[in-house]
Subunit: 394 residues, 2 copies
């Protein structure tokens, strides 16, 4: 048994935030019926690079879902969505606020059809507030939210996080909202509207930056890989890359120097205590790198690990996917795609001992399950389905 | 009613990943009993900066919880935890793997006491695999996971995300695991072990970087704020900061040039199509910044918004917390702390229409609820509690 077995999700989402949310639900056992527009499907089906004619990006975050084509602008298409929603526990959409209402598929309309439906809307700025209809891209949300103002090599170069974390956090908080609403429904018998915004989600994860600002009145700035109040606690340069080190106390600092044959630094008064080291952080880094920049990453890590100094490499993606721990945790899994063959995708980060989730199936081809879903759930005949197809409704 | 009303959580977590998880559960209505070591409490109570003698950091992520001091190394302290766990639905811990077993509080021991208990362990590398006992800091996990290898101003400067997202994603995936396990328990009647790792969590959110690498064999590198295949889709320099712009198609590019009085760029063959602009990205940026670098952020945004070109500022934290949308969405809320007075903390990013979550109370003082919890849940008398205190068990 999987934990969300028996939960049926009508998935009207595209690109990233919404599909990431429904991917999590699918991995945990929900049945996810992805509704895509005929001919083109989810925009991300067109995102490069392609493997065997299919988008690698699309295949990665849509594994395990069913695909049904429906034209939401066609009256009969809309009718199909309403009929499907009646049979679902959850609907997820990530259109710009207002679009679902214009289609006649807003929460108030859907609640009429199915009062038990949990209706989750994931958007850039949320369903309320002055910016609600503004276009939102991950880059723009990372900028507005302050996340970029604390990321980067130095105060003058605010930098985007490499992964689209505004989208992803919104998807993940959306999943939590849906699970919480499923639980509430068991008491109230009612569904509800779950409204999650990328901007809200970024605010919720600024963490220390917000607390620090409210306490001091000084907005934090990017400081590269340094720790604001511990040193050395950053990346040190090697001949072939960088090593992250975390010397959280003076004892670790001593072991760090010993491991790398730099005992002479222990005599230097500029580096005698953590607060001295923080004060002279630039000089400290230069002194360390004088030695480490001629050593290889592997060598530095072996020496530090021998003395149990917390450290690690800065892996690139080719190294990550071969990492012993990543493999042991099954965080890279293979699915067999009917058209492309074997496809590697990230595993499930939520490990449950009794009812584990899993990557159950490859991503669907566009409309792969249209007939199956319309006939099994709505009882449509082959002829009715053909007629809908000819009319452009599916 | 709140969605997790009736769920009682025994919270043995410290610092960030675990406390972030139980904060989400508390905001959604769970009763969270935070167990802290006597005298010092959660390590993060000592993290600077302080407000009114209390850590701003601690207060931010422990709002709404109860604090009970228990010495886990004292036999009677351990006994109290076992008795409390019998009355809880969920236990969350983020010690290094193995520590809870050594304390006699591992999952197998707790399952004996309460077979319905959901036992969530959040750790750096997970409960299994060769690295399970390695020390894990957010910096080190961001490095190993590949997240740093795709973040930064240029390929040679892998950069840490400013917020501790390895901790936070692990906390958030932990919350999803707990909610999924609560649902499974309704069918099976059994609890289970939820095992979430910071490293696994980072792998799960590398997103496009993994898909792209598996498709092409080329590990992606940091590329600043640029988009790999669209231009201009990045940060452009203004006289007083940067503006993020997202010109996803040629029509937006035309409007972008018109808005900023740069129609002459539309004539330049190097910039005629998106693929030309991507190919000449450096020249494009220089050409744009020749004009924008003498304009103010506010002015650029006003002009772009007038022609509906997607854009936004790179706010610092002082600007974010005054942003009209952030305020309208109640993403900064105030709680009244008994010792410190008004404290601002991030709001709840999961907006539910029928059973909303909320920030319910300030963070607790160390041991503020020890007597209340031990007397009301375990029926201990004032004398028994005093005796435990004298023995150093609480």
């Amino acid at each position: 048994m999987r934990p969300l077995e028996g939960v049926r999700v009508l998935d009207l989402t595209r690109v990233l935030a919404g599909p990431f949310c429904t991917m999590l639900l699918s991995d945990l056992g929900a049945e996810v019926i992805k509704v895509e527009r005929p001919v083109f499907g989810d925009d991300s089906r067109a995102f490069t690079p392609f493997v065997g004619g299919e988008s690698a990006y699309f295949m990665s975050i849509n594994r395990g879902k069913k695909s049904v084509t429906v034209n939401l602008k066609h009256p009969k298409g809309k009718e199909l969505v309403l009929r499907l929603a009646k049979l679902c526990d959850v609907l997820v959409e990530n259109f710009r606020p207002g679009v679902m209402e214009e289609l006649g598929l807003g929460y108030s309309a859907l609640r009429e059809v199915n009062p038990r439906l949990i209706y989750a809307s994931i958007s850039g700025f949320g369903q309320t507030g002055p910016y609600r209809e503004k276009p939102a891209y991950d880059l723009i949300i990372q900028g507005i939210s302050g996340m970029m103002s604390i990321t980067g090599p130095d105060p003058d170069h605010p930098t985007k996080v490499g992964s689209s974390i505004a989208d992803i956090f919104a998807g993940v908080f959306g999943a939590i909202g849906i699970l919480a609403a499923l639980r509430a429904r068991e008491v109230t018998g009612r569904g509800q509207w779950v409204d999650v915004a990328m901007l809200d989600s970024m605010l919720a994860v600024l963490e220390n930056a917000l607390a620090r600002y409210f306490a001091t009145g000084v907005p934090p700035r990017p400081m590269g890989n340094r720790h604001p109040s511990i040193a050395p606690f950053s990346s040190v340069r090697a001949s072939d890359g960088y090593v992250n080190v975390a010397c959280g106390n003076d004892e670790l600092w001593r072991r760090f120097c010993k491991a790398l044959g730099m005992e002479y630094l222990l005599e230097d008064p500029r580096f005698a205590t953590n607060s001295e080291r923080v004060e002279h952080m630039g000089e400290l880094e230069r002194a360390i790198e004088e030695r480490t920049s001629s050593m290889r990453v592997e060598e530095i890590i072996a020496k530090l690990e021998a003395l149990e100094v917390p450290c690690g490499p800065i892996n690139d993606v080719s190294q990550v996917v071969e990492d012993a721990q990543v493999l042991a945790r099954e965080m890279i899994v293979e699915v067999l795609h009917p058209k492309v063959g074997k496809v590697k995708v990230p595993g499930v980060p939520i490990k449950l001992s009794d009812t584990p989730g899993e990557v159950r199936a490859p991503a669907p081809l566009l409309g792969e399950h249209t007939e199956e879903v319309l006939s099994s759930l709505l009882g449509l005949s082959r002829e009715e389905i053909s007629a809908l197809r000819e009319e452009g409704a599916i």
